[in-house]
Amino acid sequence: MSVAEERNTLLDARDITRAIQRMATEVVDFAGGTDRLVLVGIQRRGVDLARRLATHIGGGDGAAIPRGELDITLYRDDLQTIGPAPVVGKTDISMELTDRCVMIVDDVLYTGRTVRAALAVLTDFGRPSRIGLCVLIDRGGRELPIQADIVGSAVDTKPGERVDVLLEERDGSDAVVLVRGSEK
């Protein structure tokens, strides 16, 4: 798949932990406290990040902050063109969303199309009083008028480059890597 890949680490494990700590504080500020806050992670690494944020916000045990999981596959706007149907992930939003402050959590913000789809999913579940967007990496390259409210780290990337977010619970270790020269 790849021809002479060049990999540069953008964030290491410590950077990620620090970024998440800061983002946790910003999330609480954004929501004006935790009373009405709901974290909704986008499958798959957004779910992991939402869990970590909740842990930080809850001061060790994240149980207090309601968390949902959301898969945007069924709301994608490119199903007709991408070939075989992608795997559909789990959506679990069992809490009431109406009049809550919902923070969408994802690993990378790029074109904005995933977030557009996530907004469509959320509106099928209820009418939150406010929806925010929190991402670990904003790599630019937007195709839709969507911006993140909370960003762990912003990097400028070119088309053809790839940002891999690796998380311990899924990938064995924490790192954010910029991959160049990858063959798509």
């Binding site: 992608p86 795997v87 559909v88 789990k90 977030v115």
Partner: protein, 325 residues
């Protein structure tokens, strides 16, 4: 249970004609894909935009309530546009051949056809002649793949697996497309499969498909973890395959008395509609081990999964790159 997106995704190809031609991986893919679709039907707004703009024709040459409704729900919950054509009152009834009907549909630029037909092989016939996706909703005595899939999903829900289970299909196997789809699906997923019924309702050479044959329900109950009790097609019994419905119930009916002597709790499936007091006792149908209503619920999820996967199109796997959105 959920496949990792980075693992290779098998494609279903253009059509779903039966479970016999599918690989184990393809069947697993459908069942795995059905899981997240269950949740859609639990939402307040039971609709996702996935198949927006797709046109699906439900072409039913045979009366059907439950299968047609389940397909229609599945299609509507995926936001497809649907048209129902029933044989009665349509050009089909006026003698238009299947191939002409197919060509006309094709000219209307439809995307998918869900077809039920009294002749075995009719779905394959249609699939060979039109570019649209074809889903077999039951062809003659041949296959009823979505029923087979929902039965598999229901069994997997209860046991967490299918591999190693013993499943006996009971009743009129000869005329049953549900039986054939169940046999293929169960065998491919590693279950041991048996059939039980009067020899006059078992097709010749059934053992060669790899199933065991029980002459008496008592033997089947002794052996099995799951009974899939087929509907006795009353309209097909005029051929003199059994002396009477009463006698069938007496010898082959799945009754509470017979189940009480089972060495373990049996899961009871029935594809419906039931003939209570013919193939199954009401106490069994409504009893704690019956999952007949769950089958109906799963029927929608499985059909959503099939529609979704077939709409995905080409066999090459798309490169769903990480961190793209």
């Amino acid at each position: 249970m959920i496949r990792d997106a980075s693992s290779p995704v098998p494609s279903l190809g253009k059509d779903l004609l039966g479970l016999e031609p599918l690989s184990t991986d393809q069947i697993q893919l459908i069942l795995d894909t059905a899981e997240p679709f269950k949740e859609v039907s639990e939402r307040a707004i039971k609709k996702v935009p996935t198949l927006r703009g797709k046109t699906i024709v439900n072409l039913f040459y045979e009366a059907s309530t439950r299968t047609r409704i389940a397909f229609e729900f599945a299609e509507k919950r995926l936001s497809a546009d649907t048209v129902n054509i029933a044989a009665a009152g349509s050009s089909v009834e006026k003698g238009e051949s299947l191939v002409d009907t197919a060509r006309n549909l094709e000219a209307m630029r439809i995307d998918m056809v869900v077809v039920r037909h009294p002749s075995s092989g009719a779905a394959a016939f249609l699939a060979d002649r039109i570019a649209s996706n074809v889903i077999n909703a039951g062809d003659g005595w041949h296959e009823h793949p979505t029923q087979g899939l929902l039965d598999l999903l229901t069994i997997r829900d209860k046991f967490g697996r299918i591999d190693g289970l013993k499943v006996c299909i009971c009743g009129d196997i000869l005329h049953s497309r549900v039986a054939r789809s169940n046999i293929w699906g169960l065998l491919k997923l590693g279950a041991a499969v048996a059939v039980c019924g009067p020899r006059s309702l078992l097709p010749r050479g059934i053992e060669e498909l790899g199933v065991q044959v029980f002459g008496r329900p008592e033997e089947a109950i002794e052996w099995a973890d799951v009974l899939n009790v087929l509907r006795l097609q009353l309209e097909r019994m005029q051929g003199g395959y059994i002396p009477s419905l009463g006698e069938f119930y007496r010898v082959f009916g799945i009754t509470q008395e017979r189940l009480d002597r089972a060495p373990r709790d049996l899961l009871i499936l029935h594809p419906g509609p039931m003939n209570r007091g013919v193939e199954i006792d009401s106490r069994v149908a409504d009893g704690p081990h019956s999952v007949i209503l769950q089958q109906v619920t799963n029927g929608i999820a499985v059909r959503m999964a099939v529609l979704y996967l077939l709409a995905g199109g080409t066999p090459e796997r798309a490169d769903v790159s990480k961190g793209e959105g």
